[in-house]
């Protein structure tokens, strides 16, 4: 069947993050307001301007057998772990075809990262310089290519409808999920495994982001360093991990009796065309994405109870998003509980959209919004939205509620995803 406007639902979730090795422990950590940030005590970090990061709580090397792990960049290892959880959570018992409830020709994967296999590239460059060309791993290219996580998950689940990797810096994970929604809506696939992943905790990316003045240098207070909306916020904290969901046409999910977490309502996309790294400060670019979301879907502002904000803890970016929400939704913003989960996970770059989609879906499913931690003095301009501070907060217990997951990236990319209770 090739309908062009099919309803899409979320039937599986998976994650491995700085808060936990799966979606349940990640969600528990978020609701508890736990920080996943720690000091970097490795020798290589000693001379860096930034010596804090949010590493994955469970090292992927503990999960993936060594022989397989040595052929996968860490970003692909994390994606594989999250995708396996999501696939099993969706109720599939084997790869497509072997599990007869999903046809490989109707299954896709869309998993993105912002930077790709950067640690593989840098580590193999070290090998080249120190040991010579003959010792460079023959697996280097399939490990470092940015489509590697999507392709490896595709191999694992036997996806033949298409394997894709949109790249838009820190919006990549969200753009991947939006692409997955469209693959199903337009009839190209019935099931899509979609999400984001990143593993860039290495001295070079840290030095580079640090020199851009984009990262917090609060080395003496790792757990308090990521502080979106706080008056003293001074940049993001680098995190690593992956979040992946299983998207499915509502008809396909109903036919196999799958549990449904939420409807994936759709996406709104825009580009700032303002600056290669600075956000458009008035929020007009983000507002354009929100308007496109409303124009492209049947989402009603009155339904939106929660926003998982992009809010990375940078001075300009956090406020541009608040301004855009007010600009587009007016007084409807007053019933939206806004949470910045990066206060706990750090910023997972291309992984952020995946992990925050998992958090968004769980928030409306369980009807509770995770907190934004580390706000000691709320920035007065951020007070124009209802920020969930310090403690988790219950969402409306009755009726249909929706959530927005915002993701923005260097290059001026704005992606807004919407999910709704069913």
């Amino acid at each position: 069947m090739n309908a062009t406007n099919r309803t899409v639902v979320v039937t599986g979730i998976g994650a491995t993050t700085p808060l936990g090795g799966d979606s349940a422990s990640t969600w528990e950590g978020m609701l508890a307001g736990r920080s996943g940030v720690a000091a970097l005590d490795q020798d290589w970090a000693a001379d860096l301007p930034v010596r804090i990061a949010a590493a994955a709580a469970v090292d992927p090397g503990e999960i993936i057998p060594r022989a397989q792990a040595r052929k996968l960049d860490r970003s692909a290892q994390l994606a594989l772990i999250a995708a396996r959880e999501a696939w099993a959570d969706a109720g599939f018992e084997a790869r497509a075809g072997e599990d007869s409830s999903v046809d490989p020709d109707r299954l896709g994967t869309v998993i993105a990262s912002g930077i790709g296999g950067v640690t593989t590239l840098l580590n193999q460059y070290d090998v080249l310089r120190e040991k010579g060309s003959r010792r460079v791993s023959p697996h280097t290219v399939p490990m470092l290519m940015p489509n590697s996580p999507s392709a490896n998950v595709g191999l694992e689940v036997n996806a033949r409808a298409g394997v894709h990797t949109p790249v838009s810096a820190c919006a990549s994970g969200a753009e991947a999920i939006g692409y997955g929604i469209e693959m199903i809506r337009t009839g190209r696939a019935d099931v899509v495994v979609a999400g984001g992943t990143e593993a860039a905790i290495h001295p070079l990316p840290i030095a580079a982001f640090g020199n851009m003045m984009a990262m917090s240098k609060n080395n003496d207070d790792p757990q308090g360093a990521s502080r979106p909306y706080d008056a003293d916020r001074n940049g993001f904290v680098l995190g690593e991990g992956s979040g992946v969901i299983v998207l499915e046409s509502a008809d396909h999910a109903a036919k196999r009796g799958a549990k449904v977490y939420a409807e994936a309502v759709g996406q709104g996309i825009s580009a700032d065309s303002h600056d290669i790294v600075q956000p458009e400060p008035s929020g007009n670019g983000i507002a354009h994405a929100l308007q496109n979301l409303l124009a492209n879907t049947d989402l009603k502002p009155a339904e939106i109870a929660h926003v998982n904000a992009h809010a990375t803890s940078t001075p300009l970016g956090d406020l541009a998003e608040i301004k855009a929400l007010r600009k587009v939704f007016g007084t409807d913003v007053d019933h939206m509980a806004v949470s910045a989960t990066k206060s706990m996970t750090g910023h997972l770059l291309g992984g952020a959209g995946g992990v925050e989609t998992v958090a968004s879906v769980l928030a409306i499913h369980h009807r509770v919004a995770p907190p934004t931690i580390n706000i000691e003095n709320l920035d007065p301009e951020a007070a124009d939205a209802d920020i969930v501070r310090d403690e988790k907060r219950a969402l409306p217990a009755e009726g249909t509620i929706a959530v927005l997951n915002d993701s923005f990236g260097f290059g001026g990319h704005n992606v807004v995803l919407a999910f709704r209770t069913v």
Binding site: R66, A67, K71, R134, S137, P138, H139, P142
Partner: protein
């Protein structure tokens, strides 16, 4: 000093274990790298490079395709080691 046949098999077994995760006792002369030992074409390049270092031997790319089994590789190394 040149390695003996037994030393070469033992060395190859350790290399295959490291690269493909196959137990050393399963790496026998009659085993095919690809079909029995989970060594794909890219991993075979790793096996060759590791064997070159360990046994002081050069294995040109054109010869690699003839090394189908552990026995093929053992014989090649016995004949060409420095």
């Amino acid at each position: 000093m040149a390695a003996t046949k037994d030393e070469i098999v033992k060395g190859l077994a350790e290399i295959v274990n490291e690269i493909a995760g196959i137990p050393v006792e399963d790496v026998q002369l009659d085993k095919s790298f690809t079909d029995d030992l989970d060594v794909d074409s890219l991993s075979m390049v790793e096996v060759v490079v590791a064997a070159e270092e360990r046994f002081d031997v050069k294995i040109p790319d054109d010869d690699v395709k003839n090394l189908k089994t552990v026995g093929d590789a053992t014989d090649y190394i016995l004949k060409h080691q420095g």
